[in-house]
Symmetry: D2
């Protein structure tokens, strides 16, 4: 059994790690930390876990964590980058679900996160944990930076087009929407049910922190700079991210939807968690709710020169904790889908 | 008092007309038809109207309707186009909330609606009821075709940019989302709460019937052809349309967001129901819930060459019944905002 | 025009007062206070009010408030009881939407609210603002304690039965449910959309602060002690309270549902805001959404000896700000329904 | 592998059986019938099942079903009672999720369902599939009538009190609420999102078809007649049933909440799917979402003579398809929790 530690277990990605790991036959959570809830049983805070864990939150403690084989950071940014160096030195591997190691350029990271990076020396070592692009490097990594939720949905949708050089990389458009759990389990007026329910809005349209991560990842596969106009929206629901992606093909009729569909199915043929839907079927967030899947679909409206890609994931699973476990499985040489067999909860 | 008839009063635009007209001091609903509910009191079907109307649904009947000064059609397409000719002949004015008279080209209408138009001779007479564009012609009209909900939100967002010739009209993008009431009060599995709640999806991405209406309206203000990639989405909520619009400016830095904001505020300065938000404030559907307002905002992400316009309306008010009453007020020479003073229901 | 002040204008009852007063022809809001938001325009915080108010939040200030004819306290408990004495002395009338003056027994108040009462000398003067019981006393009051949301829905449902002595007052049961706006606009994890949406639960079942208020009010009409088992629940929605009330009739068949319906319709015949539905029609919270109405219905299941009363209100309107304005109208000798003509927003 | 057939696979209990059985290591679904969708792949209708089943809906056909070891009926009432006799004759065991075999008295069944029973000769053989009461009889059964969703939640809450003779059986009260999936995947206006979302109501308060089933089951454990006042409500959400149960103890102070809690924990100590929460913790439907658990809690408000029991299940799991699989496991001698290890989806 792999001994697992979780730092920051009181947020939604923390409880989701616990939900998924409860069904993972090769992993055992031995430590879960929370400064605020230290001493409290995890199933007192999250009663869905009753009968699954005989475990209480602990104070964050390096000794405790260093005794684990692998530690997940399910924390806001600015926590992992301070603790990870010592853990790595002591031989513990790390999957960081936060943003701390996602951006390779420390100066760019600082621009977006408003503070200096605490361990920039690790940025070269950290592997960006999108298995569909970096599987080999993840297998050998000791530190994996798990992608953000929007970046996962958006990159998986654009990658085949950019790899094939079919679209204008300078004018990509991503109109995406997230359930409120993406904002975390923080006490903020803006995320109250009474503020969010029955309403829809864009937010951070002038610049969301996931933008540099998206552009970095897409530039890698594109082989040159890309520019994405990214507008996130807040959905009146708990789980799910849906991205509606627009890209300009060379000319009207340059590619039929069937050709593009063929391209996508070929690209993802061996991917266990990316599902290209048949032409005409569009993804819904509910079909991947609770599951580690990304569902993709393609449309070329009016057979003009704009291709639309639709991408749906569960932000807490393929967009966070599920993908983190997928990365863990790859790092540890386990079957990649171990513990990730959940079926989407429909209805 | 203006004597009002409503055809098709059992749908959501019908009950919304009744809600709004209950507070209109110059109008009295004297007839409301429904084949299915004939004989039933309107407040038995819609108990929010108890104490407001002493009225029952009637069988559709031309005599009854011809006795009205003005008739609203709150019907699916294919009803108004059969009844309107006789009503007009008999001197009754009509505001049609359905799609029957929105498209001037009868052949194009038939392509999208799958049947011949029953009264194409009226298409030239019918005035497209977007007051922000056609106020003068509405004032003299006997037949007004009230715009669709998506077309209202999308056109109001693009109009200033196209009138000013600032953006590429051949590559407009509209990613829009609607509450489920937009699908009407029809018994369909797809619109059950259990199918829609807690989920989000695009639909009709390959071609939605509102597309030709949007392109016709924008071509009118643009002075040349336009092409819109329009992707509608279904929101897990009842009321509201939000459109996220993307257009290409000539060059990066061509226009600052402040300049564009100035353009929009000037364009809509005298419009009672279009509200251009201050720079940095983004619209939410909840702030216009139940109200006849459209709220607009502008962003130029990263100061690149793409402008984003955000537009929010209540699909049943400014997107349907409120705009219908606004048109009625203009047609009848009443103050344009008569009966439309509702404040958005927040929270 | 009556000059109105609002203390604590940043909560949901505050914005709801502003929404309703925007359409009140005899009242003008001249001051609205908030320590946290002082200096900010009200329509910057609540954009549904754009174009309706040219007003900014002020620091709480007795001089300012004493210049008003009437002040609403839309505050948590423990604010009004400190400020009201001076306002009354200076001739300003007060409608307190908080709990400070609802319980006549200062010791009982302290038991439930955990602190001494700051102005117990006013408890005898304060009139409990349920117009359906206390209209005459409200008309002459200078201080009205506006009922809580649950107490309004529950008392209106039990009153006719208790006044008529038809049910066992020692074993009343109230199973009631509230939308999340009842918890206020406070930053609390428990009220996040991600915590509340798609779920249902009871809370405070061992003792909710509205219990003594309910029992006091029902004892008044019953003429003797009553005991209520009151279990509140949290609904995954914004607005609305629904109470399902159970009481034991003397014997099976003691009263038919028609007899009880007759009793209720007679009791509320002249009440403008209580609507007893026809037998067989059950209330829904959506039919009173945004409106100052209480809808009631009666059932005697299986014609046994238990009567069930169903009661629905909008917690922010008849359960708070609407009722507060109704009280204001009575206090000022205005028509009781002035400014309260809103129709429920259905759908 | 047990060969499984499902009749009526296009409803919510059908797709839920498929979701749960996809993770059951000893069962294989070999046939799933639907007249309306015959020939269509199950994953075309329910895309959450993509990659899990290579199966299409078939026409209902006795030969096909008789080739199965066990058949689930996930149908409306009136289907199973016509097909089951032949299946049993041919040696196929049956778990019926519908109401056809739940009521032992055929005349009572007819009163509530409005038609004669088609196979009353089987009513004595059919075992009511509440494992917490009938485990031994289920183990030997060839026909199990799976309980309704409300009856499961309500009976599990009342059983310990009635078995112990602690409460008045003639005056039980059950105020319960269900998510909209309980109404099934039927095209009905009443279940549209636009009708249900953001609202709450009681329904069928004068008599719901689950009442006789509840009273029959409780009479069995009580050893004498019981009378339940049962009021169901519709929640604006998809999954979950919550029951708030009230019963009269002999006298105030007769039993402390701790004593009652001890009674419940003892009664359900060996039950794998009933979880009595610690005193002070109340159940939420979200903590059992997607899981086969019932969570129970007890309160004695004000230490008076009324005990309140709170009970939460997922209506589609412990209230239907999960319990059906639990019954199957018992019938087949498999571990009772086989395939039922799902953790509640929180948030």
């Amino acid at each position: 059994m792999v001994r697992i530690g979780i730092v920051g277990g009181t947020g939604y990605t923390g409880v989701e790690l616990l939900r998924l790991l409860a069904q993972h036959e090769d992993a055992e959570v031995v430590a879960i930390t929370s400064r605020a809830e230290a001493g409290r049983r995890v199933d007192a805070l999250f009663p869905n876990l009753r009968g699954r864990y005989d475990l209480a939150f602990s104070e964050p403690d390096v000794e405790l964590l260093a005794g684990c084989d692998l530690v997940f950071f399910a924390t806001p940014h600015n926590v992992a980058m301070n603790l990870v160096p010592e853990l790595l030195e002591r031989g513990t591997r790390v999957v960081d679900l936060s943003a701390d190691y996602r951006i390779r350029d420390a100066a760019l990271w600082s621009d977006w996160y408003g503070e200096p990076h605490a361990s920039p020396q690790l940025l070269d070592d950290a592997v960006y944990g999108l298995p569909e692009v970096n599987r080999q490097r993840i297998a050998g990594a000791r530190l994996v930076a798990c992608p953000g939720c929007y970046p996962t949905a958006i990159q998986l949708g654009f990658i085949p087009l950019l790899e094939a050089g079919l679209v204008d990389p300078a004018h990509l458009i991503a109109s995406a929407a997230s359930g409120a759990s993406g904002a975390g389990r923080q006490a903020k007026v803006d995320n109250l049910l009474s503020e969010v329910s029955g309403s829809f809005k864009a937010y951070a349209a002038a610049g969301h922190r996931h933008l540099p991560e998206i552009e970095q990842g897409l530039a890698d596969v594109s082989g040159g700079p890309v520019a994405v106009t990214f507008v996130p929206h807040l959905l009146p629901m708990v789980r799910g991210i849906h991205a509606t992606l627009f890209a300009r093909l060379g000319a009207p009729g340059a590619k039929s939807v069937e050709e593009l569909h063929g391209l996508f199915t070929a690209r993802y043929a061996s991917e266990p968690f990316v599902d290209v839907l048949p032409v005409g079927m569009l993804p819904q967030t509910r079909t991947v709710k609770g599951a580690n899947h990304c569902q993709l679909s393609l449309v070329v409206p009016q057979e003009r020169d704009t291709v639309v890609v639709l991408s749906a994931i569960d932000n807490l699973v393929k967009g966070a904790s599920g993908q983190a476990i997928q990365n863990m499985n790859i790092m540890l040489g386990l079957p990649e889908d171990r513990g990730l067999g959940q079926v989407g909860l429909l209805p």
